[in-house]
């Protein structure tokens, strides 16, 4: 199917140097998207604009928002055009994420069992997320990272993991909410596709249950409150899983060291598992880490996991996979430069214009600079500043090659319907239960409105991610 068969002027391409996941270089629609293009021309699909706007409004009214200020919420921009990934490709992602989840978990077990790892000790101990108090206190079944979110980029041939998120990865519910809206308003777009259902909370529920030291655990989700950027997610997720959403003030540590929630008029109830969506545990609930160490409560994810998503440790993940699993890494990661190694520092400093500079403890785009994306006039002083900073504090940074990643199509306007190519990334989640890691078929696809940055605050939005079996 050639794009000329579509209504005229409906596709606007500008990023021809990048791999487009929907349309190839000869302007032929790729097989994953052929049925979708037929569907949007379906005469039954009239009032597409109204339906998409209704979905947007409903989601907004239901609180599908992110915080701009403490009392201002913006709608999360949703695009009705899905990102479509073949089940064959997703199988590679799934296998690769499971491989990383197992490896990172084994690494954490060694770190907190005082077993020497292949990562230099000074990097482990020097990580701001390493917690020596946890040594010798392993979680149930030695599972540290029940929830793991990996950020992926695709270049048409290979998926690259650009970041592992092991502390409190967010975005778990976004794909679920988008799917809920598209099921409700735009189901006709799915005609001809057999989509695999996406219900990640069922895996999360099981992973939480398996983390418990008791048989019938009482479980809660601990939020940082309405001022936090991901409050919608906490609210929505607690409803999907069917567990109470608690704030720090709702729970405390008793004299016996247990964690309890106080229920006005009903007394106290002991909590066995906390899915904690806060980083600083003891700031929110003083004594929480000790209760975890004493085995009085299970925490999802365990404290201390941040040592494994430290940017400098990340550069060792391929080696860790070979070491722990005796396998070759399934997913690639961009070439990294560790500035604490003098030879790598030197080659990084010479080539800094083509690298991504990441702060060691940063996450989700925070502390990341891409010199190539800055205007040429401002690039020189910026590079000089970065070079100086890295030379002075080499153990605070990781540098990576800049990847040219894929684009997909995104709605630009409705009347007339214009689709535009835009850069897209993917966050895939793994849920680690007693029987191993599970990767639900789907994930969070984020697109960039301008440039390559996909964050909401930079104007980026989110898409439904369809995993489709093209053979069946």
């Amino acid at each position: 199917m050639h794009i000329d068969s579509l209504p005229s002027q409906s596709i606007d391409f500008s990023k021809t140097e990048s791999y487009n996941e929907a349309i190839d270089n000869n302007l032929l629609i790729r097989k994953e998207y052929v049925q979708f293009f037929k569907n949007i021309q379906n005469p039954r699909l009239f009032r597409l604009r109204e339906k998409a706007m209704s979905a947007d409004l409903t989601a907004y009214l239901e609180g599908f928002t992110y915080n701009v200020k403490s009392d201002e919420y913006n709608a999360v921009p949703m695009d009705f055009v899905p990102r479509i990934i073949s089940s064959d490709n997703f199988q590679i992602i799934e296998d690769g994420i499971k491989q990383r989840a197992k490896t990172l978990n084994m690494f954490l077990k060694d770190v907190y069992s005082e077993v020497k790892t292949i990562v230099p000790d000074e990097l482990v101990v020097g990580s701001e997320y390493f917690n020596p108090d946890l040594i010798g206190h392993l979680p149930k079944n030695d599972i540290f990272i029940q929830v793991y979110g990996a950020d992926l980029l695709y270049n048409g041939k290979t998926y690259y993991v650009i970041e592992d998120n092991l502390r409190v990865p967010s975005g778990v519910t976004y794909p679920s909410k988008i799917r809920e809206m598209s099921d409700g308003y735009l189901n006709v777009l799915k005609k001809g596709y057999k989509l695999q259902p996406y219900k990640p909370w069922t895996f999360l529920y099981q992973a939480m249950k398996d983390a418990s030291w008791t048989k019938n655990p009482f479980m809660v989700l601990l939020t940082d409150g309405t001022g936090g950027a991901a409050y919608f997610e906490h609210m929505y997720l607690s409803k999907l899983i069917g567990i109470p959403l608690v704030e720090a003030g709702d729970i405390y540590v008793t004299d016996s060291g247990h964690i309890v929630a106080k229920i006005p008029g009903e007394g106290e109830i002991q909590i066995d598992v906390i899915y904690r969506r806060v980083e600083d545990l003891d700031v929110f609930v003083p004594g929480l880490t000790k209760a975890y160490i004493d085995g009085k409560v299970a925490l999802v994810n365990s404290p201390g996991t941040g040592v494994a998503d430290d940017k400098l440790v990340y550069s060792y993940v391929p080696e860790l996979i070979r070491h722990y699993l005796s396998e070759e890494p399934i997913l690639e990661q961009p070439k990294s430069y560790n500035p604490t190694i003098p030879e790598e520092l030197e080659s990084a400093l010479q080539n800094i214009e083509n690298l991504v500079v990441k702060e060691r403890g940063g996450y989700g785009g925070m502390g990341t600079v891409i010199p190539r994306d800055h205007p040429k006039s401002k690039r020189g002083p910026l590079i000089e500043k970065i070079q100086q900073e890295i030379t002075e504090n080499p153990d605070n940074y990781l540098l990576q090659e800049t990847l040219d990643f894929s684009t997909t199509i995104t709605r630009e306007s409705f009347s007339p319907l214009i689709l535009r190519d835009s850069y897209v990334d993917l966050r895939v989640f793994s849920y680690y239960a007693e029987d191993g890691p599970h990767v639900p078929p789907g994930g969070l696809s984020r697109f960039a409105r301008h440039g390559r940055i996909t964050n909401n605050s930079s104007g980026g939005g989110v898409k439904d991610t369809w995993i489709v079996n093209l053979d069946g």
Binding site: Y73, T226, Y231, M235, L245, D250, I263, P264
Partner: protein, 156 residues
């Protein structure tokens, strides 16, 4: 099971709804005076009670409706929404967002009829959220007989 944090949110939700309701109704009444009697005095009195300096009525309307000050209706409805979201009751979240959208509309402040319509829309949205709060979180009705029995039991 109601957690303390939810009770706290419910309390502040109620207070902000009350505040938006009273300020909006006072504003509407003052707007009618301006329209029918060409009197700015009720608006000036309202400004005085809210601690807003009155210079021109258009400027005051901008401040009371959308100003970035604690006395403005927008400030109150946004705080109301934060508490509604914190409370997490779907219908209340929905109505609170509708109320915020109603307040965020920008009428032409030179046209008093438009501002009156705007205030009426806001009050209609407040009425809706009040009704939904009543349906969702009001205590269950207790019959007079049961109440008397409870009272007797407590006295014993």
């Amino acid at each position: 099971m109601i957690l303390p944090s939810k009770l706290y949110k419910a309390y502040w939700l109620g207070r902000y709804v009350e505040r938006v309701d009273s300020v909006s109704r006072a504003l509407l009444s003052a707007l009618y005076s301006l329209k029918n009697l060409q009197s700015e005095e009720p608006l000036m009195s309202l400004a005085d009670s809210l601690g807003i300096k009155f210079t021109k009525h258009e400027k005051f309307l901008e401040e009371i409706l959308h100003g970035d000050i604690p006395s403005s209706i927008l400030y109150s409805v946004r705080n109301m929404r934060t508490n509604a979201i914190g409370l997490g009751v779907e219908r209340i979240v929905r109505e609170s967002n509708i109320l915020v959208i109603a307040v965020e509309e920008r009428p032409n402040l030179q046209k008093i009829d438009e501002v009156i319509k705007h205030a009426n829309d806001v009050i209609a949205a407040i009425n809706n959220i009040g009704r939904v709060i009543n349906e969702e979180i009001a205590p269950p009705h207790i019959s007079e007989e049961k109440r008397q029995n409870q009272t007797r039991h407590q006295q014993q």
